[in-house]
């Protein structure tokens, strides 16, 4: 992973207090490019974190830099950052095109350049046909897409997206997720907050889990899950004759629990050492010539991690 601060979003011991109310406390993060999801219950500090990295709030303590730029340098910062806020707010008379172009002009582009760039971006989001219509008459999904167009139009390397999938129908969600993947793979930072955990799973290269103003976990989700030794990983194994395999596994130190399925076609195991477990399974398969149908962890997704780290807190 790059350690060049010009490629990272860095939080160094950052705290933000609203009077006596805690926003976030002593947060240190090093966020690489790619899609990073912020996950946590309401009031956990996700929005505070986003507002700090977009320069809308300033930290009470600590330092933040976004790709080498301090967040108290708005002129440079806002060229780097595209922000898609959650509320649907538009100038009442604005059309899709004038909305996106207007905000590009605020970024310093001339009128003609802003117009051309706005047209290109709107086209990229599949809204060309509606570009001349008033945003007030757009559907929820169209408004969400025009907000994304506004955030991406100046082609920033960092995109901060607050609940960007809200209100989108399944087709539009799939399209937007594909766009996010393309943008993320293009070397951008995409910071996404979402409550929809299975979409976070689909989307993210890494997650930041927050609770009560603290970062409770960060990294790629399998890595985070692997470090949660208090909660053994649950794995389902399905095969025609599971007993010999179960017999070999049950004596192993890494397996804490094993239950045969009622139909006799598999078993359910818990392990604190997934790698050791998989090695044992592999050895057994090779030595005994077993045919496995499925070996699948069932609680290594964001939902399960969220439940263990935050749901039980």
């Amino acid at each position: 992973m790059s350690t060049d601060p010009r490629e990272l979003i860095l939080f160094q011991e950052v705290s933000k207090f609203y009077g006596e109310v805690l926003g976030i406390n002593r947060v240190s993060l090093s966020i690489p490019p790619g899609i990073t999801s912020l996950v946590g219950p309401n009031g956990s500090g996700k929005s505070t974190l986003m507002n700090l990295m977009t320069g809308l709030l300033h930290p009470t303590v600590g330092r933040i830099s976004v790709r080498g730029t301090a967040t108290d340098d708005p002129e440079r910062l806002h060229r780097l950052v595209g922000y898609c806020a959650q509320p649907d707010t538009f100038p009442p008379a604005a059309t899709g095109l004038s909305f996106v172009a207007g905000f590009l002009e605020i970024c310093g582009l001339g009128r003609r350049a802003a117009q051309l760039r706005a047209e290109e971006t709107i086209d990229q989001l599949g809204l060309s046909d509606a570009a001349g219509r008033k945003v007030a008459a757009y559907s929820k999904g169209m408004r969400q897409r025009i907000k994304l167009a506004r955030a991406i139009a100046h082609d920033p390397p960092v995109l901060v997206l607050d609940e960007p999938l809200n209100g989108l129908d399944p087709m539009a969600r799939a399209e937007v997720i594909a766009l996010f993947r393309r943008w993320g793979a293009g070397g951008r930072h995409l910071i996404v907050s979402s409550h929809i955990l299975h979409e976070v799973d689909l989307l993210s290269d890494q997650v930041i889990l927050m609770n009560q103003g603290y970062v409770v976990a960060e990294g790629d989700i399998q890595g985070v899950r692997g470090e949660m030794t208090r909660h053994p990983l649950q794995i389902v194994v399905r095969c025609a004759d599971p007993r010999p395999l179960a017999a070999r596994l049950i004596g192993a130190d890494s397996v804490t629990d094993l239950q045969l399925h009622a139909d006799g076609g598999g078993f359910f195991a818990r392990t604190r050492d997934p790698e050791g477990f998989y090695r044992l399974v592999q050895d057994a398969v090779l030595q005994e010539g077993l045919i496995l149908e499925t070996v699948m962890p069932v609680d290594d997704d964001v939902g399960a991690v969220y439940q263990y780290l935050i749901g039980e807190a």
């Binding site: 490019p33 806002h78 060229r79 707010t89 004038s98 970024c107 082609d155 793979a185």
Partner: protein, 296 residues
């Protein structure tokens, strides 16, 4: 770890200076004004009195037209300070009306819609944002106050000759200074109230109350103390006083009669008091407009 290939292309072309970006905010505001029929009707109504003024000036310099109308010149109002006062006075009332129509929505809508993070996540400062909003309102108020009356003054100056223009510079000063002071005051108060009072009808009442109610207080102070200092609390009377005092030498009997027995401060004191009101309005505004409205 994935290997990322940089595929985005940030804009590398020329950029307009920071100060110029505020006009985008003004443009959004103008587009918004144009949606109000009441506003458009007021704008059209604003042309009525100045058009009459232009007609009177034209008749003064066109004997043929007077003959056709069978109108002796002595029956036309004289073109002096009083004439311009009569033109300026309704226009200033109209400016108040227009500030009431469009002012309260200017910032309220952005605050209630949580739009400020949108603006301030761009390279746009609070000052630029407020300048953009204020410029939109000031341009509109200019269009119904000093601009049309100045046009009448220039028309008269072109027909009346250099000597008239030279002798009437105090009228020009009164038109410009009193109008600009009034515009600045209305802009700062209506934007400040728009930022603090979110319910538009109540915001309108507040604006109206702030500019008019203190007049009664000022008159009461005058009645009790026989001193004009109560005027400091009455911005509407201050502007009225400014209109009169700056063209005092050019007022005929009509103007003097209109001025009546109202108390009066000297022009520098009047300007200082109006400046204080305007500054207080802008301070109240700055304290309210923030990127995020944090509820503790």
């Amino acid at each position: 770890m994935a290997v990322y290939e940089r595929r985005y292309e940030p804009y590398q072309g020329p950029r307009r200076p920071v100060g110029g970006r505020a006009w985008v905010i003004s443009r959004f505001a103008w587009d918004d004004f144009a949606r109000s029929r009441l506003f458009l009707a007021s704008l059209v109504a604003g042309a009525f009195v100045p058009t009459l003024g232009l007609l009177v000036v034209y008749l003064h310099h066109n004997a043929q037209a007077l003959d056709v109308l069978n109108l002796p010149i002595s029956e036309l109002i004289r073109i002096d300070g009083s004439f311009f006062y009569l033109l300026l006075w309704p226009q200033h009332w109209l400016a108040l009306w227009m500030a009431l129509v469009v002012g309260p929505g200017l910032i309220t809508r952005d605050l209630t819609g949580v739009a400020l993070p949108l603006y301030f996540s761009r390279p746009l400062s609070r000052r630029s944002y407020l300048f953009g909003k204020a410029a939109a309102l000031m341009a509109l108020l200019s269009a119904v106050t000093w601009l049309p009356v100045l046009l009448v003054w220039l028309f008269q100056a072109s027909l009346g000759g250099r000597s008239w223009a030279g002798d009437s510079l105090d009228i020009l000063t009164s038109i410009m200074v009193s109008s600009l002071a009034w515009i600045l005051l209305l802009t700062s108060l209506s934007l400040a109230i728009s930022a603090w009072v979110r319910w538009t009808p109540v915001a309108r009442l507040f604006i109206l109350g702030l500019v008019s109610v203190p007049s009664a207080f000022a008159m009461a102070v005058y009645g009790i103390t026989d001193r004009p200092w109560g005027l400091v609390f009455a911005p509407m009377l201050l502007v009225r006083d400014l209109r009169f005092s700056l063209m005092e030498d050019s007022l005929s009997q009509i103007g003097t009669a209109m001025r009546g027995g109202f108390p009066s401060l000297s022009a520098p004191w009047t300007l200082a008091a109006l400046g204080l009101w305007t500054a207080l309005g802008f301070l109240a505004l700055m304290s309210r407009v923030k990127a995020l409205d944090v509820v503790r």
